[in-house]
Symmetry: C2
Subunit: 623 residues, 2 copies
């Protein structure tokens, strides 16, 4: 059945397909942090003409329903439809995240001083046609030509089963793709005819617990041709890795989870192929960067032991396997490289991030923090790296926060409260009507409420302090915005604030303990690299004031954004950087915070704004 997006395009919707899935299949992503199970109420669309069949409305308000809104993930078509997609329903991921250096990944790659030497190489073979005098077999003819590159080449069954026809169709002029295992051995991948699959693309893939980002890369030049991103559909089975492991192992849902994320990636791939007129044989390599659980689920490896003491992953250093085994819809013989992990809670995304940050190249000590669905920290230099995971949870990404959202248009991203009048002002991403609050907005809000005395050091409201404090469904809440049209207020509740303080305490305790382990004072840190969804919108002084980041001068902080995808990109384009990635992983020492003495003390001490020990936040004292 056809569905028209008013003023834009018309697309075909399959039987029983939800509006959400149909849009996704056409590369139009709606916000759906719940993964499309109907609970977050964010994928609203307005029905202008036609009838839909809706299973449910989630948290949608009466007024919205009256105005013709439905949840796209819960609705199928009863008749042909015309819809309108409200701005706040559209998913915009990653756009604001990259720092300048990463805007041109190919240029950033050259800053490492390495040549482009991608995961998959091609060798042109112009073979002499066979004759009675030169009647060696097809495979031996290829091997003879390949001898010039001095590698022991492994030839898979799948490759050899195509060789007879390929050599003759190509009139003995073909190219062979291969990837190196080491300096001496390699894997032959596919044979290509001169007139087919000439262009070469590859994928850098970041599988986050919450979001999936895919770079489409020109495999010859390193140019990033396109970027696709979506929410990780596994979210419908749980917000965090622990819930998903439970679902996989106790709920028998391993296949569901695997299918969900592989499906997300394949949906992005298929929109790339449509948009750029690429056939699947032209995409012949991929690098995955993900945390340990996401990597294992992607490959269908049982993650049960990740959540049980002593927290053992199935694999840290992945062999290179093929796209076929990964179920990616690219050339099935393509190698898929997985960024190596360090431990169950410090995964390939962090190793990838360290590669992208260059922390491992500098003699000076630096701190790396990746604040995403969870927070991981690392301290080190060109000689050693210590790392730990903080159980911070995903609330800075909006999850578990009543009106929380990612830093996309409509998010309140900064907040000011006048200390005298207590008057509130805020700014919204893209200047549209506010839809929710993103991480930086939450941090601003708590710090402003604390410094103006609306909340105390523990984050508890002083009820009479502001007329914006009111009794809500879950106790007291602070109202940022009221909307009399659709009656959708934006608030931060007492519960929200407590969640945020717990999260920031976990992060700070992690950093403190890691510095303790190293036995070095904070001041020796040359740089603090901030990676993750926050990106440029994080206000460093405010985050310090909150007690989340260590109290260091602003100029030591460097925003990096999504370093996981950049590391994946670097590993895709350079054998040398892929080796460096493995060196990084083997160099990183994992510290299990829960068994290091003093963690609970550090955590409890950090449960104040900014901290119980104010000598650790001199700038907060002196402001």
């Amino acid at each position: 059945m056809d569905m028209q997006i008013a003023g834009e395009m018309t697309l075909h919707v399959q039987e029983k397909e939800t509006i959400y899935d149909a849009l996704k299949r056409h590369g139009l992503y709606l916000a759906a942090p719940c993964g499309g199970k109907g609970s977050c109420g964010k994928c609203k669309v307005r029905v202008l003409e036609g009838q839909v069949d809706s299973r449910g409305y989630g948290r949608m308000q009466k007024e919205e329903r009256a105005a013709g809104m439905v949840l796209a993930c819960q609705s199928t078509l009863s008749t042909p439809l015309t819809i309108e997609i409200p701005k706040e329903s559209k998913l915009v991921l990653g756009g604001r995240i990259a720092i300048a250096a990463f805007k041109d990944p190919a240029a950033y790659l050259t800053s490492y001083g390495v040549a482009i030497d991608p995961l998959v190489k091609r060798l042109s073979l112009r073979l002499p046609p066979p004759s009675i005098q030169d009647n060696i077999s097809d495979l031996e003819r290829v091997k003879r030509a390949v001898r010039e590159i001095s590698l022991t080449m492994n030839y898979s069954y799948e490759l050899v089963s195509t060789i007879h026809d390929a050599l003759r169709e190509g009139n003995w002029d073909v190219s062979l793709s291969y990837s190196k295992h080491s300096d001496v051995s390699a894997e032959a991948l596919s044979l290509f005819l001169p007139d087919r699959c000439k262009r070469r693309f590859a994928l850098a893939i970041d599988i986050g617990t919450t979001t999936v980002v895919v770079y489409l890369v020109d495999f010859a030049t390193g140019e990033v041709i396109d970027i696709g991103s979506t929410y990780n559909s596994q979210t419908r089975y749980g917000d965090d890795v622990i819930t998903r492991i439970v679902y996989a192992t106790e709920g028998g849902g391993m296949d569901d989870l695997r299918d969900a994320v592989v499906g997300d990636i394949n949906t992005i791939i298929s929109s790339f192929m449509d948009k750029h007129t690429i056939s699947s044989c032209e995409i012949d390599g991929a690098v995955i960067a993900a945390n340990t659980t996401m990597s294992q689920i992607f490959w269908g490896l049982n993650p049960a032991s990740i959540r049980e003491e002593p927290y053992i992953p199935t694999v840290n250093i992945y062999p290179v396997w093929k796209a076929q085994a990964a179920r990616l819809s690219i050339n099935p013989q393509s190698p898929v490289y997985t960024s190596p992990a360090v431990a169950s809670y410090v995964g390939g995304d962090i190793v990838s991030g360290i590669l992208a940050s260059k922390l491992y190249k500098n003699p000076e000590l630096s701190l790396f923090m990746d604040i995403g669905t969870n927070a991981e920290v690392a301290i080190g230099n060109n000689e050693w790296i210590m790392t730990a995971a903080c159980s911070a949870g995903p609330c800075f990404e909006g999850s578990g926060i009543r009106h929380g959202m990612r830093a996309t248009p409509g998010a309140i991203e900064s907040v000011k409260i006048d200390p005298t009048t207590l008057e509130l002002s805020f700014s919204v991403i893209d200047g549209v009507a506010p839809v929710g609050i993103c991480g930086s907005g939450m941090i601003d809000a708590i710090v402003e409420m604390y410094t103006t005395g609306i909340i105390n050091q523990k984050g508890i409201f002083f009820p009479g302090k502001s007329p914006r404090i009111r009794e809500g469904q879950e106790g007291l809440e602070f109202v940022f915005h009221t909307d009399n049209v659709v009656h959708r207020d934006i608030v931060l509740t007492q519960v929200d604030i407590e969640n945020l303080i717990r999260a920031k305490a976990a992060i700070f305790a992690g950093v403190s303990l890691l510095l303790n382990e190293v036995g070095m004072p904070l001041e020796v840190l040359d740089k603090v690299y901030i990676a993750g969804g926050f990106g440029n919108s994080l206000n460093i002084p405010k985050a310090i004031m909150l007690g989340m980041l260590p109290d260091l001068a602003r100029d030591r902080y460097v925003f990096l954004g999504n370093t996981s995808i950049i590391g994946a990109y670097l590993a895709l384009m350079s054998d040398e950087l892929r080796r460096e990635m493995e060196d990084i992983a083997s160099k990183m020492t994992y510290v299990e915070l829960s068994v290091v003495g003093g963690y609970m003390d550090e955590y409890i001490s950090a449960m104040f704004i900014p901290h119980t020990d104010m000598t650790r936040f001199p700038s907060a004292v002196n402001r």
Copy 2:
């Protein structure tokens, strides 16, 4: 529906399954050189009770039909059935073929002075269980333990996807199977729990154009536990490799051919598993020896170029691939090694045969002849080997000969004609009533008819010479046996004799030309190894008299029987012998007889009994 074999067993027949297939599925093989397409008329069974539905009766005679005979391959059950299987319908393959040394392959293996070092090895891993202090991943834990054998081990996706559960179910006490690529690199195959798949079996497989033979081997001791054999079901698509290549490439029948032979092997495997209570995971390795076409079809590799000048195989030296790719129903991760081929018409069966003959170990020059569905010859020593294929065709196996058959019970195997009375006498294998003539019987018969003047030097009958010469459907024929009960006479026709002379001429011309190429006289040959279906029943002086074998003293001849399967067995049980097999293949120089000057002359000269040049057969002159 049930089918009872009178006085023996009752078995279940599936819907639409032929009697032939049902018997085969239960390990009861009937003779069916046509591959079960109803044309040879040899798989007769007698219906005692019940009704069958028969599509056709092939060459079966009226009297046989009247006596309740049907063709098993053409008949399905209409009702439950009781049948009787006549002795001559039963397939007996290989029983008489092995020479003494090969009766105990494990003992023969030790005669090479190599240790048992099979294709697949097992390493017992008693791993320390993980702890917070020793929290490396499962794969790294296995790798750490494997480090002791100093091999770079490749870990496949399939293996790693089982590792989490296997280690825990086995309580960290498992064994790892692996095979070596070289002295430094290896492939990890499967993990085994201590209480499962403890026994270890492997298969040596000889895929002949006409027959398939499988050895079930104890992988630890080398003992041959059982031997299974059957006709190659590809025969239904053609008798020889050329017809099958045409069927594969022009008839689109590649999958049919592949399924046929893989099905034959899997049927034998399944009867082994039933008989010896083996589970498929316990069979974890296989070696295939076959001619070039059979090897390629087994692996599904396009054989088209084998039959077109310049006769190019797709692969001569096969990589080791897995049972999964081969579609063999054993442990899917098992390595399957394929004996290397030399050229399109000198395949892995011959290389395997040279290994089994030890020709390549001796400083003296020897001749190796494999006379089966085709004939291949090789001359050489421990320094060099020259080889060629003769287009002899399969008539010595009975194919294309009116009453030809293999050397199984009921075959006339030797013939005498009294020079004075011209009285005929013959002996039949197992002393039963004669059913047909096998290769040795044909050779005897022609030589006896020639020396008694019944045929001339060209093989043409002198019509009045014997009352046994009569006019048949295809011209003159010689009657060996008349049967007044079933009216089934046994004859050798003028056409049969011409076919046999063409075949022997092709073989002799091949040997002559190869000796010519080497520039050495016949007398330097230290040994002549005879491999193939003839086995012990070949009468050497008669074969010399026919002009098929070179005129050398009887004691230089050594019968070897099926050397292809023995070579496969040796390669299965010893890495060193597998390397020697590859050395043999690379050492063998292929001579394309059709382009060597003088082939046609040699062939025409050999079209006489024994030869136009009688000086080459002094023993025939002097007898």
